[in-house]
Subunit: 194 residues, 2 copies
Amino acid sequence: MSLRERKAAKKKEDILRSASLVISRKGYHNATMEDIAAELLMTKGSLYYYFKNKEELLYRCHDLILSEAMKKMEEILSQEISSAKKMEMAIKFHLEVAIREKEIFNLIVKPEQIFSKEHLGEIVEKRAEYAEVFDRIIDEGVSKGEFSIEQKKMARMIILGATNWVQVWHSPEGEYSNEKIEEIYAAYLLKMLV
Amino acid sequence: MSLRERKAAKKKEDILRSASLVISRKGYHNATMEDIAAELLMTKGSLYYYFKNKEELLYRCHDLILSEAMKKMEEILSQEISSAKKMEMAIKFHLEVAIREKEIFNLIVKPEQIFSKEHLGEIVEKRAEYAEVFDRIIDEGVSKGEFSIEQKKMARMIILGATNWVQVWHSPEGEYSNEKIEEIYAAYLLKMLV
DNA sequence: AGTTATTTTGAATGCTTATTCAAAGTTAGT
DNA sequence: ACTAACTTTGAATAAGCATTCAAAATAACT
């Protein structure tokens, strides 16, 4: 890859990070292309040199963050540890991402309100894959006898709902540290499973 | 109250219901004043006869629905039943509202992205009051020895998060009935508390 | 240092919507 | 039936933003 190509790739990623940041702060609809560009001391026109339009940009943000998270989840899944331990790690990691990426990761909650058909399918699919990580841990735990859960789908919904919601109330100045929150959530949600 | 006043009051409420509906379907930013009016076979101009502007309209929607829900919660609180039973009822009722009012009740998740200062305070306060219902049940249950929970605030966050999240995935065509969902959620979340 | 391919710019365009308002239509109460 | 007060209308206004694009600036390579 030439120097130019590498520079362009870096710029693309810079833009994605900036977009994530601005969208986290203001929400998708209030984050203007100008805001995103300003964060990088660029002008909005330039963004269109790298991305077709705003939707494309958001789609790439979403994809980047979800892919990174997915990689980590795969790693947790493949470890040689108890299902309870896996679930604990998955919950903690998921909370970490949810807190860090607020808007992007969660609040694109009604993707059909934002994305056009081409992207929608991929997004829904990718999210389903991610959610499946939790299903797999639950299944494994149940068959090993570690968990006792009849309604596995609902259990997963409760876990993801509870953890996704964190970013609604979380504030960096809150009285609990992120680690503390992760500890408590993991403990209480595991209590529900066993 | 004169006939005219009563008619105007009814129209106001009709508009609020229509707005709730449209906003539920499309989300706040995609619900136009025209959509809201069209639902009632009116034109958007008329809406301004009843409400100052879109924000005011949304604020009133929010307020109406939350007030109704709050009334019911007070009633649950005052009954002579076990704390576990109260929590069960509160969870079930909350789910009912969350499913019915989707957007309005929950997805105004970042009120500061939508509301101006005047309304923001009242909204935050009213939501805090509502959340407190759950705190009170938890406190009561702990002191009666029915629940064993150290981190009461976190337990409440988990419960509200899990239940609020329902509207993200819920579909009327889903394989579970609302009642079934309510049953399972209440059972699993109570398991966490006791 | 010069040439050519990239990047960036910012002004112009156009679309979507909220909001206003004067005029037209409707209604409750006499 | 009349009329004064109330409602509705729809066309006009205005603001905010995404998107385009021709021209200017910059950088890589020889």
